[in-house]
């Protein structure tokens, strides 16, 4: 028996110690040399459906790697050729003709033609597809393949910013089976999906058929899913990953001070932290009560406390450079707290003795924002109870309208401001806030479409003033995507929304 026990102990010791003598943990991420990039992420992919942008942030990050668009907007919101090398618009701006690059191919080597582009448009418009950007695609009344290399899009009304929609139209190879579209993607982007272990990792390798294949430097990109922020950070700190996709603002501020790593906060307007007030329910069905709420908020204190001073206070949800911001630069960032004015408005709304309500939120940064705001609001007589619930419960209650105020983020407002209103449901007329007004719709239409003889910037300013006055949507700050990565990661670019472009990245 003693001999058996000794053997058992030895076997266990070998099991425990042998691997330690092997490759070990250090350098797992960078160990592959200069051509491999390992990204540690807290969340995982829900699949690779080219029309699904509503899932996790990492989901949106992989889109541009697997799929290309006809046109992409640069940092100045100017259209740049991608799959389409040129385009022209009819004089009335109701028709756009796009010319594809010659010899385009999908990642499986099959030709990419105008007919495939048409399929992607109609697929995105199909209600059953449940595309995130469907409100934008619905602006197209007809998509036609004029010839294998020419696509013509027709709009019932001339759009003021038609390229925004094209920036979200990711071109995937048509497949009848929706499950295949989701988990066996055949795309047109710089990388292709080599391997996907759901919940564990996904590996991308260069797409040899990509039209600009020479620009792709990385030989392999691996996304490692850690399950939570802390575990992702441990992977990065132990050098099993070169890139940390998610971090808390506290950790990001700490990383930003370290010399051994690089940090990047990108994409103003990729996500905007907001309070949404339910205009269909008391007490915020009253505009003065909503105004009182907005006036009591000290956004600067929130960004300083919760965002560790990494972001600035926003009064309007538009980033610099967008038409929304340029129309009202004086209003966009200057909205200091005014508890006295808030009390006046509260009295006007018939709540001179104060107001009780609840803020629906989820654990994490939204709950932190709510807690800081709770103290500020109380000074003006707005007594908020914080209702912090699980994500899924939040989703249920938000969708059912079972809330008075909620804290969340609106995504993708970095594009043209009118497009952002159309795409971002919290900002839509009659959207999730239940705020509905003919005047608001008229103002949206005035900036969404080209209207001969009208001044779009002036119209946008009116819309901004309307948003500030009605205060059903109360922005707090830009919750930008923020990344931490090793010193030797070079050539990183981001989209207008702040998501990764890995096409030109190299390591080492």
């Amino acid at each position: 028996m003693k001999r058996h026990l000794i053997r058992l102990c030895l076997a266990l010791a070998v099991l425990l110690l042998l691997p330690a003598c092997g490759s070990g943990g250090g350098g797992g991420g960078t160990g592959g040399g200069s051509e491999e990039l390992t990204i540690a992420a807290a969340e995982q992919f829900d699949g690779f459906d080219s029309t699904s942008l509503a899932g996790t942030n990492i989901q949106a990050a992989v889109m541009r790697q697997l799929y290309d668009t006809l046109v992409a907007l640069d940092a100045d919101r100017k259209p740049q050729p991608r799959l389409a090398e040129s385009w022209e618009q009819s004089p009335d701006h109701r028709t756009m003709t796009l010319h594809l690059r010659p010899g385009l191919k999908f990642s499986d080597g099959s030709p990419l033609t105008a007919q495939d582009v048409v399929w992607n448009v109609t697929h995105g418009q199909d209600e059953k597809t449940a595309a995130t950007a469907r409100p934008l695609f619905m602006a197209i009344s007809k998509a036609t393949a004029v010839d294998p290399a020419t696509v013509q899009l027709t709009f019932p009304k001339p759009l003021a910013a038609p390229f925004d929609m094209l920036d979200y139209l990711f071109i995937a190879k048509p497949q009848d089976d929706p499950q295949k579209l989701k988990n066996s993607p055949v795309g047109s982007g710089p990388f292709k999906l080599e391997k996907w272990d759901a919940g564990t990792s996904a590996t991308l390798t260069p797409n040899p058929s990509f039209w600009d294949a020479k620009s792709v430097k990385l030989k392999r990109v691996t996304f490692k899913f850690a399950g939570d922020l802390q575990a992702a950070q441990l992977l990065f700190r132990s050098k099993q990953a070169d890139f940390l996709f998610d971090s808390t603002w506290k950790d990001f501020a700490s990383f930003a001070k370290q010399s051994g790593v690089q940090t990047l906060m990108a994409g103003d307007g990729g996500r905007v932290e907001m309070f949404l007030l339910n205009a269909a329910k008391p007490p915020f069905d009253n505009a003065d009560a909503r105004r009182a709420f907005a006036a009591a908020l000290d956004r600067g204190a929130i960004t300083k406390t919760v965002y560790r001073g990494q972001t600035e206070a926003w009064c309007l949800p538009w980033p610099e450079g967008s038409v929304g911001y340029e129309a009202s630069p004086d209003l966009a960032r200057s909205c200091s707290a005014d508890p006295a004015r808030s009390r006046e408005l509260l009295t006007k709304a018939g709540h001179a003795d104060g107001l009780r309500f609840s803020i629906l939120t989820v654990a994490g940064i939204d709950a932190e924002v709510s807690q800081v705001a709770q103290q500020q609001l109380a000074k003006a007589g707005l007594n908020a109870k914080i209702d912090s619930v699980e994500d899924t419960v939040f989703f249920d209650r938000a969708f059912a309208g079972d809330w008075q105020v909620l804290t969340s983020t609106v995504q993708r407002v970095a594009h043209d401001s009118a497009t952002s209103i159309q795409l971002g449901v919290p900002l839509q007329n009659g959207g999730v806030s239940n705020f509905k007004s003919d005047e608001y719709q008229r103002l949206i239409d005035s900036v969404l479409y080209e209207n001969p003889g009208s001044d779009r910037v002036a119209d946008m300013r009116k819309l901004n003033e309307f948003l500030l006055d009605q205060a059903f949507f109360v922005p707090v700050t830009s919750q930008n995507p923020h990344y931490v990565f090793a010193k030797d990661v070079k050539g990183l670019q981001v989209t207008l929304d702040g998501y990764l472009i890995l096409q030109n990245v190299s390591v080492g």
Partner: protein
């Protein structure tokens, strides 16, 4: 014996069916609409309805259950409503990872706990006994997730000799897979090792006072011979029910450790599927867990009856053994 086994199998089948009804019902009673998890809380109602339709959530609950049960018994586990991947693929891979962790942890617990318990019992009252008692107190008192974090900080971040987490598959990268199991095995296995050490010590001391042990000593048999021939068999009988429970609890208790070490096991899959309300994956995993529990206790019962003549005799008197 055949009748006993068949009776137990039938009992297990009924329990499993009941468990599947409970699991299905409880999951549907949980707040949270999977269609909203997929589409997002601010999606338009047309989009959400389209997703619900695609997920088959419009059917009445009994119909949903019967469709799932019918598919389940024919081996069709369906696809994940979130990722669209086959449930068999997701669950199979996760269970393999958790089974491996359970195996290494059990080996560590038994390999460390039983010898330590023996040592403490045979050297009762000495410094060795007190040392083992000290180890037991520390190992049982330290939360495994905290120990896991400390191990990661020391061995993965500071010394860089072991990985902070891992996803390598045993079939593709055996060394990488084993490497990634070292720290989680220690974090998860120390407490069960301490528990086994305590139980072994108690069992050995109890058996040492039995008449047959006194007789063996009186006959002049060596202590090694007595341990091999009699003591361990009796101790093992005492530990058998505990080991069955231990294996079962390790299977389900690995969730936190899998999260700390980013191991793609069943525990982490349960957490993730619960968060996403991925009914197909959750139902399958939970029913499999119940089945594993039932199977482990069943095997323990059989082993018990084979090893202990008194139990076998009882079963024969009950008419269960043929």
């Amino acid at each position: 014996m055949t009748r006993f086994v068949l009776g137990r199998v039938a009992q297990m089948a009924v329990t499993l069916l009941g468990a599947s009804v409970v699991v299905f019902t409880v999951l549907r009673l949980m707040p949270g609409d999977p269609a909203l998890v997929y589409a997002g809380p601010f999606a338009g109602s047309d989009v959400v309805e389209a997703v619900r339709d695609r997920m088959g959530l419009h059917d009445p609950l009994p119909v949903q259950y019967l469709l799932w049960l019918k598919a389940f018994v024919t081996g069709d586990l369906g696809v994940s409503s979130i990722s669209g991947l086959p449930v068999s693929q997701l669950v199979g891979s996760a269970l393999a990872q958790t089974a491996l962790l359970t195996l290494t942890t059990s080996l560590l617990a038994i390999g460390v706990g039983v010898p330590l318990g023996l040592l403490a019992a045979l050297r009762k009252g000495t410094w060795a006994d007190r040392l083992v008692a000290g180890f037991n107190t520390v190992a049982l008192g330290v939360p495994n997730f905290w120990l896991g974090l400390i191990l990661v900080i020391v061995f993965a971040i500071n010394f860089s000799i072991l990985p902070a987490g891992g996803s390598a598959k045993l079939t593709e990268d055996p060394l990488g897979a084993l490497t990634s199991l070292v720290l989680p095995t220690i974090a998860l296995g120390l407490a069960p090792a301490a528990m086994l050490a305590r139980l072994t010590r108690g069992a050995v001391i109890e058996v040492m006072h039995e008449d047959f042990m006194t007789m063996a000593a009186a006959k002049g048999m060596s202590i090694g011979f007595v341990i091999r021939r009699s003591l361990l068999r009796h101790v093992f009988l005492n530990l058998l029910p505990v080991l069955a429970i231990l294996v079962g609890s390790l299977l389900t208790g690995a969730a936190i450790i899998e999260s700390v070490f980013t191991l793609p096991g069943a525990g982490r899959l349960i957490i993730e599927s619960t968060r996403q309300r991925d009914y197909a994956v959750l139902q399958t995993l939970l029913v499999i867990f119940v089945a594993v529990f039932l199977l482990v206790t069943f095997v323990a019962d059989i082993l018990y009856s084979v090893l202990d003549p008194r139990v076998r005799g009882h079963l024969m008197r009950e008419g269960g053994v043929r």
